[in-house]
Amino acid sequence: MTQFDILLRRALMDANLAQYDRALRSAETKEPEFSPGYLRERTRVLADPQAWARRRFGGRKRLNWRLIAIVAALLLLSACGYALVTGQFAQWFPTIWMDPEAPEASEEIVSRMGTVIGEPQTVGDETMTLNAAVWDGQDLKLSLTAEVPDLPEDFDSQAPFYDLECRLIMAEHQREAYLRKEIAQIHANSHIDSTEEELEELVQSHLEYPDDPDFHSVVRAARQEDGTLILQVMAALFDYVEDPELTLHIENFATYKVEEGDDGIFTSSRAPDGTVTTDHEINEPFLKGPFDFTFTLDKKLSPISYAGDIDATYENIPLRVSKITVMAFQVCANVDLLALYDPSGEDPDKLHISLEQNLAMSLNGLWTKDGEYVECIGGTAFSFEHDGKTDGEMRGNPVHVIDPAQVTAVCIGGKRVELSELTRLDE
């Protein structure tokens, strides 16, 4: 950037400050009369700006993009006939990583958390079958097969999908209980003090929004050899209610038009009145629907959590592990940073963790009762600063599905952390 460009940038901003000086000065003394609708949105944006913006942008979950790439690739491999195993759940869920050396054991684990549904529906000349659901108490996966007569020849499972009009909706009689627990959990994790009245107001404002709770569902699809589509829906569904009853709505499933030089960021949003806006053009939907599948999840493989205090080190970063949660598809460790932390990196006497280090900090692997070491990949870490302390989460996705009850230790920064040295929380 040239000297002139630096000057220009500042001058452009100052020109606006000068132009609107009177309005800005009056804003300092005059209280605007905001509408009730604006005040409701204000409460939401201040309580959780990320969730508010996500809702306005269409509820996009910030998923690990590397996992999405792997999911798409697995779907493609399966569609091309490269199925690793022949079990029923393995066929329905090619995106679930089975152990190639023990496929039957993996199939058995998945079947314990799988609900077979097998419901077909036809709309016009499209037919879709909801095959099954798999739930580990935190991540929900749904498998569908679709016969779509006008699927484009050049359909690409790696394309950016427009799935805003596809969503998961909880039964009305369960929404409130789910939202109350979700909001309570978010606030417990956020270290933000809120009064009971503020939390209640938040619950009521979320209840008014028909799309809440938002399960951040993502839909991916691939063409199979027989010309049908296999679809996988992934959603974040916590076990806040017993036997959740859900409706999967699928409509206008399409791909975005990709132009040369595109930045690869595709956003779409749905306003409270249902109006949809996108920042990229969408191709003609290849799956129009609408389809509505209602089902109840009565099976899950619950996570197992352990609490305690174990010191570990990740690349010279001193940590204390306070909790480990083991799930069928993911392992998560809550950690405290045992050093004074300066996020800006300006204080030489304090620890600075670069963004690259932050993103690389993940659970490396785990051990099972039979002595097997299972590598974990694609994890993320977050850090939270409050009251002068810094804590966060490290996660890892095992390379094949696991039975949480069989896990005996996890690997953090090369150190083996024994779960037997922690207290199991559900006992």
């Binding site: 452009l12 901003m13 800005l24 005059k30 700006p49 930045d263 977050f382």
Partner: protein
């Protein structure tokens, strides 16, 4: 190519920064939007669009020195309000010719640049704001303003050169950085 999801406020520190920004500028950016739109309902819409833009580009916003935040937020708010006007087809065709003011006696170089920008045709000024302040790509600007990308590129170049040439005519020179 796979869709890449937005990186937004991740940490509690980010959320605290956002709250501070919101509390400092909520009324101001509403006042700017109201000044542009003249309608409280639309000004509220513009205000919410502004917060969405700030969250969408949080990586840039959170890196701003606090002293720059007011100018940045006001610029974003003005442009969100103008987007609403444009969507309602209420924009007026701004004149392309420019009659820059002469430098006043004892006026500092920087203040003169600010007065030149204020007199710049709005079509050029807006494109320069979106490019230089909001750091949008030519493609994003083209989509937002309904221009061709080539038009955007030309306006950025012309607008910048108009200002620079005028300053150099008054005897100011700039080193490449």
């Amino acid at each position: 190519m796979l869709a890449i999801y937005l990186a937004m406020l991740e940490t509690e520190q980010d959320q605290r920064r956002f709250t501070r920004l919101f509390e400092a500028y909520e009324k101001k950016l509403y006042a700017v939007a109201l000044r542009v739109l003249g309608n409280p309902d639309k000004a509220e819409d513009a205000a919410q669009q502004t917060w969405l833009q700030l969250i969408k580009h949080w990586d840039r916003v959170s890196a701003l020195p606090w002293g720059e935040t007011e100018g940045y937020v006001v610029t974003v708010a003005k442009n969100c309000a103008l987007d609403i006007l444009r969507a309602e087809r209420k924009t007026v065709a701004f004149p392309e010719d420019w009659d820059p003011p002469a430098q006043e006696e004892c006026q500092e170089e920087y203040d003169y640049l600010v007065s030149l920008i204020r007199s710049l045709p709005e079509n050029y000024r807006r494109v320069l704001e979106l490019k230089c302040v909001e750091e949008q790509t030519n493609q994003e600007i083209a989509r937002r303003l309904g221009f061709k990308e080539s038009t955007v590129a030309v306006r950025i170049l012309r607008g910048r050169n108009m200002l620079k040439d005028r300053l150099e005519k008054e005897g100011y020179t700039y080193d490449a950085v």
